[in-house]
């Protein structure tokens, strides 16, 4: 069964301009799906629609349907949907509402009437999972930006959702912080089998992890598929070419120049390995023909 299904879904906040327009989308269970696209393309609205904020919080007008873990979002409340979908909003700092780290993780569990002993155990587990073990009694205000981001993730992981939706989670982090965050998300995806739907502008950050890439433009899906299917399409498009990560700009440039095809590089290491052989082969040919 698919984790998230958008079936010809359209949505408008004010009834006039369409934020999403006829979106068809299937996110498989256990997928690491990355949503990209120019500003104003509807990425945040897509996140909202996956967790029920759209239409429940904003009202507005919609057509088509979204179902999450088999449940139609329009027919159940945000609270019920949250059992299956954990959401980390773009402004994650405002999402944190309690005084201390432990309380923040306990918050959703208390709301669901979980007993104190189980809450205590779960806090330990979840904080260890996101790398915040031992910070239970710290005040939320005293955490660094990266730690707050992890706490926001921990606070939604607490109730064991199977799907995690994150809207631009790395935008306030430095390069190391972003790298660590994506390594954490990858471990949730691989080790715990969670389905991830992540909005990210910088595709270079997610190249190593994403198995499904979704590009939105003007509320519609411009293209989607495996990164190696989508990136060539972006490279050919005038408006979207700037989104191609530098490593793949290199790949496409070389492929054109030498009329060859390289493997879908997921990180620099793979590129170095393949290019090393490629350069060596070129030299050998030269030696032969000389």
């Amino acid at each position: 069964m698919a984790a998230i299904v958008f079936d010809n879904f359209s949505y408008s906040y004010d009834g006039a301009a369409k934020a999403l327009d006829g979106v068809d989308l299937t996110v498989a269970r256990g997928s690491f799906t990355v949503v990209a696209g120019p500003s104003g393309a509807g990425k945040t609205t897509l996140c909202f629609a996956a967790c029920g904020v759209v239409p429940h919080y904003f009202g507005g007008s919609m057509a088509g349907r979204v179902s999450v873990a088999g449940v139609a979002t329009a027919g159940s409340s945000m609270r019920e949907l949250a059992v299956n979908v954990g959401t980390v909003l773009e402004d994650f700092e405002s999402q944190l509402v309690t005084m201390t780290v432990a309380e923040e993780v306990a918050f959703a569990l208390e709301n669901r009437g979980v007993g104190h002993d189980r809450i205590a155990r779960r806090i330990g587990e979840v904080l260890a999972q996101v790398g915040l073990a031992g910070l239970e009694d710290r005040e939320v205000g005293s955490l660094s930006g990266g730690q707050k981001q992890r706490l926001a993730i921990a606070s939604v992981l607490a109730t064991r959702p199977e799907i995690l939706v994150l809207d631009e989670p790395a935008s306030a982090l430095d390069p190391e912080g972003a790298e660590e965050l994506y390594a954490l998300l990858a471990s949730l995806n691989r080790e715990y089998g969670m389905t991830l739907l992540v909005v990210e502008h910088d595709l270079a950050r997610v190249l190593a992890y994403a198995d499904n890439l979704l590009v939105l433009a003007d509320g519609r899906i411009a293209c989607q598929g495996r990164p190696e299917e989508v990136l060539p399409v972006l490279a050919r498009s005038e408006e979207l070419a700037a989104m191609v990560p530098p490593l793949w700009q290199l790949k496409f440039g070389l492929e054109e120049r030498f009329e060859t095809r390289f493997a879908p590089w997921r990180h620099e290491g793979e590129a170095i390995e393949e290019l090393g052989g490629f350069i060596g082969a070129g030299r050998r040919e030269d030696t032969k023909s000389a």
């Binding site: 967790c51 005084m99 809450i119 109730t159």
Partner: protein, 226 residues
């Protein structure tokens, strides 16, 4: 004071405030105030609360002096100043020695205040430092564009709008995010609340409550059956 349950401290704030209202001798009130200062010293309250206590002292002295200057008797002036100092000081002591989350838990579970209201108290206190940081950030952004808080009162007020407007808009977006977050985490349903809080009564609470009750009985008796 930190080991005393929040409810005991809440009761103390009310009852001792009542004592301060009932007592009309400056000497008795001064004694009570001295006891409060001693409690502060014993409570390992954070340094900031001593500062607050200091300003309170100055304010109370000012109030007394004003009463006196306006023609009140010396004793009465002192009583007014001491009462005010007592009642505010008690509140400062409560806040300085109680974690906000414990206070919320006590309000909800022992005093039966609906959780939503108690949560709003905690949440607003939690956002005060963030709001102050935001004020500073906006002020700095405008200073880099030539904003300065000088000139006539009208000009200063008008200038202040340049700080207030971005701040209000930002706060609105912020509370929107918070509201979404609360709903997404199932807030508002019948919940127990207060994880990690310590509000249970110990022997010192029973002792303190007994002492408070005795004190109240004594003062009421003195006041009405004299």
């Amino acid at each position: 004071m930190r080991k005393t349950a929040p409810l005991t401290k809440i009761v103390m704030v009310f009852l001792v405030s009542l004592w301060a209202m009932l007592l009309d001798s400056a000497a008795a009130l001064a004694l009570l105030t001295a006891a409060l200062v001693a409690l502060f010293a014993l409570s390992k309250a954070p340094a900031a609360s001593y500062k607050a206590l200091g300003s309170l002292g100055i304010f109370a002295a000012g109030l007394t002096a004003m009463q006196f200057a306006l023609g009140a008797e010396a004793e009465f002036s002192a009583v007014v100043g001491l009462r005010m100092a007592m009642m505010t000081g008690l509140f400062i002591l409560l806040m300085a020695t109680t974690r906000i989350q414990d206070l919320t838990a006590a309000l909800v579970r022992q005093l039966r205040v609906p959780y939503e209201y108690a949560f709003m108290v905690t949440a607003s206190l939690r956002f005060v430092p963030d709001l102050l940081a935001e004020v500073k950030a906006v002020q700095e952004a405008q200073a880099c564009r030539g904003y300065s808080n000088r000139g006539s009162v009208a000009r200063r007020l008008r200038n202040y709008l340049t700080i207030v407007q971005p701040l209000v808009l930002r706060s609105v977006t912020r509370s929107e995010t918070m509201a979404m977050s609360l709903e997404l985490r199932g807030f508002g349903a019948n919940r127990a609340g207060g994880y990690g809080t310590s509000i249970a009564f110990g022997y010192r609470d029973y002792l303190a409550l007994a002492a408070l009750a005795a004190g109240t009985a004594m003062i009421v008796a003195m006041r009405f059956y004299r």
